[in-house]
């Protein structure tokens, strides 16, 4: 029994993902609007795991993850929407998009590697703004503020056993639920493997002590660049899934600084470098915004049936403050995050500044 608990403790996320996989059988609401909201949550989880590579594993503060999220989404849209001649399948487009975005991450990483800490953070922020404005202004390619749409659902036009997959994806949120859950499981598995791989240990070494790592023959440049590219690739995957679930890229403002900040907060709140921590952080912060608040507000509306909703009474008008207070309080009482990674916890425990 104790062994079982121990196993669950170590493989926390495996149990959670398994429970989520069977959840639609017991929670019929996941076939409705809730399913779509939870799917969005999973996409943010993937994005956060991508950011965690930079901030958690390698210790580089990154404030522009949404730019890579956006590049991924727009890339997959360019390759699939009817407006352009490519119109290749969603899966292939996703693969191409991930590769291209990783390349962009690599290219950004090169010139700014000399920067440390906060200056690097501001450069990633600036990069995010440049990408947003560029996406907005290159109207021939990105559709500008209109975005690109419709992004066909995965398997559009493919009929399996009498079911048109494209229609199935559009009508029943459970299809996207399982697709995104599978992608999330894949990313979690890959991150677990990375943590204990040669590259993962190199990231940690550079984070802990760059000169010492260099003395051991680790090329900090290569290690950091690989973190940039890996982070961008995972973010791009999230972007591809995002565009597919929404059937549009949304407008470039959807990929602005606010989104980067939200994901960064989720990673730090949950616990830097910790996979279960990151997932929990997203579940709390993004879940609050996309699932809890709309549900609570429509409940209030149905109970009161108010003709004109009083803005001060609705929870939505205080969501920013609730959100902010949560961030402040968690940092006050759990400064290393809700579920700190063991390695980092040990490090802080030894009274480093």
């Amino acid at each position: 029994m104790a062994a079982l608990w121990n196993w669950i403790g170590q493989r926390w996320e495996v149990v959670a993902l398994a429970l989520l996989a069977i959840a639609p059988l017991f929670v019929p609401a996941l076939g409705g609007a809730l399913g779509g909201q939870v799917t969005t949550l999973f996409i943010y989880c993937i994005l956060a795991l991508g950011l965690n590579v930079m901030v958690g594993y390698t210790g580089l503060l990154h404030l522009g993850i949404a730019a890579f999220f956006g590049i991924g989404a727009f890339m997959v849209a360019i390759l699939t929407v009817p407006l352009f001649p490519f119109q290749i399948g969603w899966l292939v487009a996703t693969a191409v998009s991930i590769a291209v975005t990783a390349g962009v991450g690599f290219a950004l990483g090169g010139p700014v590697l000399r920067l440390r800490g906060d200056a690097l953070a501001i450069v990633t922020l600036a990069f995010g703004e440049v990408v947003k404005v560029t996406l907005r202004n290159l109207e021939q390619v990105t559709g500008g503020m209109k975005g690109l749409n419709p992004v066909p659902p995965p398997g559009a036009g493919v009929t399996v056993a009498g079911t048109d997959l494209g229609r199935a994806f559009a009508v029943d949120p459970r299809w996207f639920y399982y697709l995104v859950l599978a992608a999330l499981a894949g990313v979690v598995w890959a991150m677990r493997r990375l943590e204990s791989s040669r590259l993962g240990r190199a990231w940690a070494a550079v984070r802990e002590d760059e000169p010492a790592a260099a003395a051991l023959g680790i090329s900090a440049t290569q290690v950091k660049l690989s973190a940039f590219a890996m982070s961008a690739a995972v973010a791009a995957l999230a972007g591809c899934l995002y565009a597919a679930t929404l059937s549009t890229t949304a407008d470039p403002n959807a990929y602005d600084f606010n989104r980067s900040i939200l994901v960064l907060c989720a990673v730090i709140l949950g616990g830097l470098g910790s996979i279960p921590g990151t997932l929990l952080g997203v579940a709390i912060l993004v879940g609050f915004d996309t699932v809890l608040i709309p549900a609570a507000d429509s409940l209030i509306q149905q109970l009161s049936g108010a003709a004109d909703r009083s803005s001060l009474l609705s929870l939505a008008s205080w969501r920013l403050a609730i959100f902010g207070l949560a961030l402040v309080l968690v940092m006050r009482y759990r400064p290393a995050g809700l579920i700190p990674s063991r390695r980092l916890a040990a490090e802080w425990g030894h009274g480093r500044r």
């Binding site: 609401a29 969005t40 407006l83 749409n149 559009a170 059937s247 549900a295």
Partner: protein, 396 residues
């Protein structure tokens, strides 16, 4: 209770539910308050019943506080929610054309009737006028489910240009907010200006997050336009733009489309700044010029809310009226039947006058109102009709 919240209740054969999906937070709230009031009044007028059904109404928000305007995610979530709720037979909305592009392909799968009181981008309904592939891309099942009671931008943009020509204005500078609605209407306006021989000195896009536009205005000033056109809304810094334009000493009038027709626009720009030199176009007649059912609605609105309705209230009322008529005509609680009944409405006697839907689901109304801002209010100036343009414009 949780089931009810997430929209998974079992169908109730005696109830038809109408939802609206509009930005209920942020600067557009005033416009959507008007629309929602109009919707509620139409349903109340019908006694809360249509045919054998009891009518329920649910007011959904497609904006978030953090964004301050509509978001794709919220609009898609609302659409999915409406689609999954078997009692929902019609969706009124959205306000923004960009949001319509998100929800149209989703709701099309259910043949769920959408009636927009405000989304005016041409590509949503009209073949060939929008981008390649529009509007078919919004209709994956190949049938129309989106209609609108408001005239599209191919009325407002070109007729605005026509009005400019009649004022004897020769040089214009065009700005837009880069959004679906604002850029669309600004492009149509600029194209028509060039066609009828008005010089377009420049066309730039602003960032709706910018705090001020002083250098932009200095640049515009150096090109000496007679008129500045801003394709945008009160949500995208229309007020700030007007303020900076006049304080830069630009001796030109400002023309804005219906997205700025809201008291919030005048309040944020300042009544004195706009007085007599800011003109607003609006598809359809202004509430105070309505006759018959429209005048009756305006009276009832004043009694009920203690203020005069703006144009959006009338469109909300009209949209709900069309939905109720379609349900009555169909006589059954069936989404496809109701959508077909709506598209078949050829002669509707409503608050906006006698009109109907054409083969694309667009209104047959073809009148544009130009108002001028005077003493902090929108004051009726004149109307222009499509027929005027056809008669007077040079050969195309």
């Amino acid at each position: 209770m949780l089931m009810a919240v997430f929209g998974c209740r079992p169908a109730d054969p005696g109830v038809v539910r109408i939802v609206s999906s509009l930005p209920r937070t942020g600067p557009a709230k005033q416009q959507t308050d008007s629309i929602v009031r109009g919707i509620r009044m139409a349903i109340d007028e019908a006694g809360g019943h249509v045919g054998p059904f009891r009518v329920e109404y649910l007011d959904l928000d497609d904006s978030t506080v953090a964004a301050g305007q509509w978001t794709s995610e919220a609009e898609a979530a609302n659409a999915r929610r409406a689609l999954q709720d078997p009692d929902v037979v019609a969706c009124i909305g959205p306000l923004n054309s960009g949001a319509a592009k998100v929800s149209m392909p989703i709701l099309n799968f259910g043949d769920l009737l959408m009636v927009s009181p405000a989304a005016t981008a041409v590509g949503l309904t009209k073949p060939r006028l929008g981008e390649p592939g529009e509007p078919e891309v919004y209709r994956p099942v190949g049938r129309i489910n989106f209609v609108r009671v408001v005239p599209a931008d191919d009325l407002q943009g070109p007729l605005s240009a026509e009005w400019v020509r009649r004022q004897g204005i020769r040089k214009v500078y065009v700005l837009d907010d880069g959004q679906v609605y604002g850029k669309g209407i600004a492009d149509l306006f600029a194209d028509r200006c060039r066609e009828i021989g008005i010089e377009v000195l420049g066309h730039d896009a602003i960032d709706a997050r910018a705090q001020e536009f002083k250098s932009l205005m200095a640049r515009i000033k150096s090109s000496q336009p007679d008129l500045v056109y801003f394709g945008g809304t009160v949500q995208s810094k229309g007020g700030q733009l007007a303020k900076d334009m006049f304080s830069a000493g630009i001796d030109a009038v400002l023309l804005v489309p219906d997205g700025c027709q809201a008291q919030a626009f005048i309040d944020s720009a300042g009544a004195a700044v706009l007085d007599g030199r800011c003109f607003v176009t609006f598809g359809g007649l202004p509430p105070e010029r309505l006759t018959g059912k429209g005048a009756a609605f305006v009276d009832r609105y004043r009694r009920e809310w203690g203020e005069s309705p703006d144009g959006y209230a009338v469109y909300g009322y009209e949209a709900a009226g069309v939905v109720l008529r379609a349900i009555r005509d169909a006589g059954v609680k069936d989404r496809l039947a109701i959508t077909s009944a709506a598209l078949a409405i050829g002669d509707y006697d409503g608050a906006l006058g006698h009109w109907g839907f054409d083969e694309n689901g667009d209104t047959t109304l073809g009148v544009l109102t130009v108002s001028v801002v005077r003493e902090g209010r929108f004051e009726f100036a004149e109307t222009i009709r499509t027929s005027d343009m056809a008669a007077e414009s040079p050969a195309e």
